[in-house]
């Protein structure tokens, strides 16, 4: 069954239609990648799915429920968590406080919000520690986020999304700007998360996409031009034209 579905989803910014009638179904438990050239509308699609922007037309269904127009702060509570293409963390916070903040938001209860010391939420603490351990940052938990390397910040970016204990992870180019070695580690990480979460992945690096995806959707100028398994996508002439500018066609 599709856990996340869009029906003719459209977003226009003035004359520019960034996302144009996209109908997409993400099956629960799969890793579904979205690829496409720069400016194809992939990140805008994520912004629509997470409620950052309201769509101009179309619907978003999550777990069979219509969540179109739900604001971003509510979407997080439904079990959808995202990571950002451009690292977006809390710079002055320690790594632990970064993931704690995300874990508390979707925690079982906000009881004692104004009064109970923040270190007396054992359930939140455990979730925060597990998220850091999952991405391999457990030993650095006390360090401020602004002091760690770019590669580690990308891992933290992912840990913040994991700390929310989501059902669906939306990962926007988790390997952006990483060295080959760091990229290998990130791919291993994403592979380890596969199966535990439903993952929607935006990525540019084709070798990553082809090796980890269950299904791939291809966007071009805001529209979906193809969908299928990695093998089907590799054979698709329209995809090759979009990517190679017609030279291979």
């Amino acid at each position: 069954m599709a856990i996340l579905e869009t029906q003719s989803l459209t977003k226009a910014f003035g004359a520019l239609t960034a996302v144009n009638g996209v109908s997409l179904a993400v099956e629960a438990g799969t890793l579904h990648s979205i690829i496409g050239p720069n400016g194809a509308g992939k990140t805008t699609l994520f912004n629509l799915l997470t409620g950052t922007f309201a769509p101009s037309a179309g619907r978003i269904l999550y777990d069979g429920r219509d969540i179109t127009g739900t604001p971003a702060s509510r979407v997080a509570h439904l079990g959808l968590a995202r990571s950002y293409q451009r690292t977006s963390v809390f710079p002055a916070f320690s790594l632990y406080d970064n993931v704690w903040t995300a874990a508390f938001a979707t925690g079982a209860s906000w009881g004692g919000l104004l009064w109970r010391p923040a270190d007396r939420y054992p359930e939140v603490d455990e979730r925060a520690r597990r998220a850091l351990a999952d991405v391999g940052l457990a030993e650095r938990s006390g360090q401020p986020a602004r002091e760690i390397s770019h590669g580690e910040q990308r891992q933290l970016e992912l840990a913040i999304a994991l700390a929310a204990a989501p059902r669906v992870l939306l990962l926007d180019e988790p390997a952006a700007g990483l060295s080959p070695e760091e990229t290998r580690r990130m791919v291993a990480l994403v592979r380890a998360l596969k199966g535990r979460y439903t993952i929607v992945l935006i990525e540019h690096k084709m070798d990553i996409i082809m090796s980890v995806s269950d299904r791939i959707s291809v966007m071009h100028f805001g529209s979906l031009i193809a969908e299928g398994t990695p093998a089907e996508i590799q054979r698709n002439p329209e995809v090759r034209r979009a990517y190679l500018g017609g030279m291979a066609a």
Partner: protein, 308 residues
């Protein structure tokens, strides 16, 4: 964590020996006012240039009730806290819709609006002459008209207010507000309704301002029109920045520096705001963490020096 508490208690005891009790009292009142502002400024990253709106509104309402209905001191303080919080809810609701420069201008503009209401409504507020004749009614045989007794009362309330603020900033709310300061977009994405949390910070800050406003009115027996004016809003902002907006104790130290300078140096030298200006420039250019940062830098420097 223990040392600041010991220093504070020592300051509470020693202050009335060093300066006149009225000044000493004003320092703690201004510190309560600063604590409220700093929840917005230091913790949430909202530069409010209109804190006197809540301070003044509470002073007028509670002052009027004290004067005409001789209400109980604690009731007056409770009403002040309520008026401070309610006016902050109203102002905050409008201001949190915007951020950056527009936010600052909105807090300022709404402050001016409240100021002109107080200025025009002379039958109640006394306009430019202020609202005089505010009593300090005795409570259970304790005579608050004695300056030292009133000092002790205010100092105790200040310590209580500081304790409450410490609980708040160490609670999840404190961390969420700082997360909003650090990265509002991500705070929203992980599941916090940012405008609503900003509004909550406003209301709490307003409650502290209200408490300070009523204590101020009872201290001087008058609510001057300036108590709701933008100069007052600026003063608490200066004091907090000079003390250090990055820490819980910054506004307390700032209040001490500001009130002490304004009351003691002003009698010697009429151009004293010049000193304040210089202090402010130094803070902005070299010491973004204010006095608190200067202090901690000094200690790091001392402990790094090899012992001779």
């Amino acid at each position: 964590m223990k040392r600041p508490i010991v220093l504070l208690l020592a300051a509470v005891v020693l202050l009335p020996l060093l300066v006149r009790p009225v000044i000493a009292t004003e320092i703690w009142i201004f510190a309560i006012f600063g604590l409220g502002l700093n929840l917005l400024l230091g913790y949430t990253g909202m530069l409010s240039f209109g804190q006197s709106t809540f301070f003044g509104s509470a002073a007028y309402v509670a002052g009027w009730l004290l004067k005409h209905y001789a209400i109980n001191v604690f009731l007056a303080l409770g009403i002040g806290v309520g008026v401070g919080a309610a006016s902050a809810a109203l102002v905050g609701y409008l201001c949190v819709q915007r951020s950056g420069l527009y936010f600052i201008m909105l807090t300022f503009a709404l402050n001016q609006m409240f100021y002109f209401i107080a200025y025009q409504w002379t039958s109640v507020t006394g306009g430019e002459d202020g609202m005089p004749g505010i009593p300090r009614p005795a409570l259970a045989g304790i005579d608050f008209s004695n300056p030292l007794v009133y000092y002790c009362f205010v100092a105790a309330l200040f310590l209580g207010a500081l304790w409450v603020m410490r609980r708040i900033v160490e609670s999840p709310l404190g961390r969420i507000l700082q997360a909003i300061r650090e990265n509002p977009v991500r705070a929203e994405a992980v599941g916090y309704d940012v405008p609503r949390f900003k509004l909550l910070a406003f209301v709490i800050g307003g409650a502290f301002s209200g408490l300070a406003g009523v204590l101020y009115a009872m201290l001087f027996g008058i609510v001057p029109l300036e108590a709701i004016g933008f100069v007052f809003s600026g003063n608490v902002l200066f004091a907090t920045l000079i003390g250090g907006s990055g820490s819980l104790y910054g506004p307390v130290i700032g209040s001490f520096v500001f009130i002490w300078l304004s009351e003691s140096v002003s009698t010697l030298w009429a151009r004293w705001p010049l000193l304040l200006g210089v202090a402010f420039v130094i803070v902005v250019l070299f010491l973004r963490g204010g006095v608190v940062e200067a202090w901690s830098r000094f200690w790091t420097w001392r402990s790094s020096k090899p012992k001779a």
